[in-house]
Subunit: 181 residues, 2 copies
């Protein structure tokens, strides 16, 4: 139901087309809830059928503008009051649990590649954070999320560097006798 509710949330701000919503997902929600147009268009049709949104205009190239209805607004608000599911999947971090299967140098190489990813993400978030803040309600909420992104990536980089040191130390235990079982 998350896709459904995030669409409603984005439409609560202003009417938009499926295409605009698709781009918004890619720009802002990508890191918490990725969704592609092939999922968005059918869901918009369902939302309209359920009376939670309604097509208010159409333009050239078959463009369809949707607006949220009062029922739709009630629905998002109710969703926001529900207890979120805290489970997450992290395909990249999953590999860390299996790092022990690799040779130390391969494990380090993996972490180095991950480091590049996180550095890129961090730069992306920091660049966005530099942009002037329009002090609208939506903007500050997005800012809160952006700030979390920056913190997350920084922490990930610190952890990454630390993890590599741990692996290197295990490989060549400095000073002490090899303590492996």
């Amino acid at each position: 139901m998350s896709l459904r509710h995030s669409l409603l949330g984005l439409l609560a701000e202003q009417p938009r087309t499926g295409y605009e919503l698709t781009r918004l997902f890619d720009e802002s929600l990508l890191n918490v809830w990725p969704a592609s147009h092939s999922q968005i268009y059918p869901e918009l049709a369902k939302l309209a059928a359920d009376g939670l949104i309604r097509q208010t205009a159409s333009g050239s190239r078959g463009k369809k503008v949707y607006a949220i209805t009062p029922e739709g607004l009630d629905e998002v608000m109710a969703w926001l009051r529900t207890e979120p599911d805290h489970s997450t999947k992290n395909p990249s971090f999953l590999r860390v649990f299996f790092l022990w299967l690799m040779e130390p140098e391969d494990a380090v190489a993996f972490l180095e590649r991950e480091e590049l990813e996180h550095e890129a993400k961090l730069r992306e978030f920091e660049a966005k954070a530099e942009l002037p803040v329009r002090d609208t309600s939506r903007e500050w909420a997005f800012r809160l999320a952006l700030d979390w992104g920056v913190r997350y990536e920084r922490e990930m980089l610190e952890w990454n560097a630390w993890a590599r040191r741990v692996i290197e130390e295990r490989r060549t235990p400095a000073g002490s006798a090899r303590a492996r079982r």
Copy 2:
């Protein structure tokens, strides 16, 4: 394919039953890749049919012990060398993007409930980190992951407190004229 490969990864350490694998998922992989028995049992059957694992024993109560085959080991190793998908879904954090739809006090209440969750997770991780480390390869890899969990939860708590301050300040802009547009 992540479920498939994490099963192989766990079986690379030692032979196990579907039931044991289910518990291992709940104990250690829950935070990166949740999976239930209803997904695990059919996947084990497929892995066996594909020759990546093989049933090596059976016990009372219909117990089936599976062991990884050389082909299965090749498969995990190959997976570990592939570039991971960095997309993640976070149903709880998704709501932060829509915090602006709520009244400030509701947004703060939401963050306070989240704080409790993260405090609980942090305590859980810290308790696990207290446990004696057996210096096996698998153990240290799990340690690396556990350490990330602790860092993540601490950072989340800091962000959470900061976010609440931002919301409070927006509600009652101290000293300065209300700057909302």
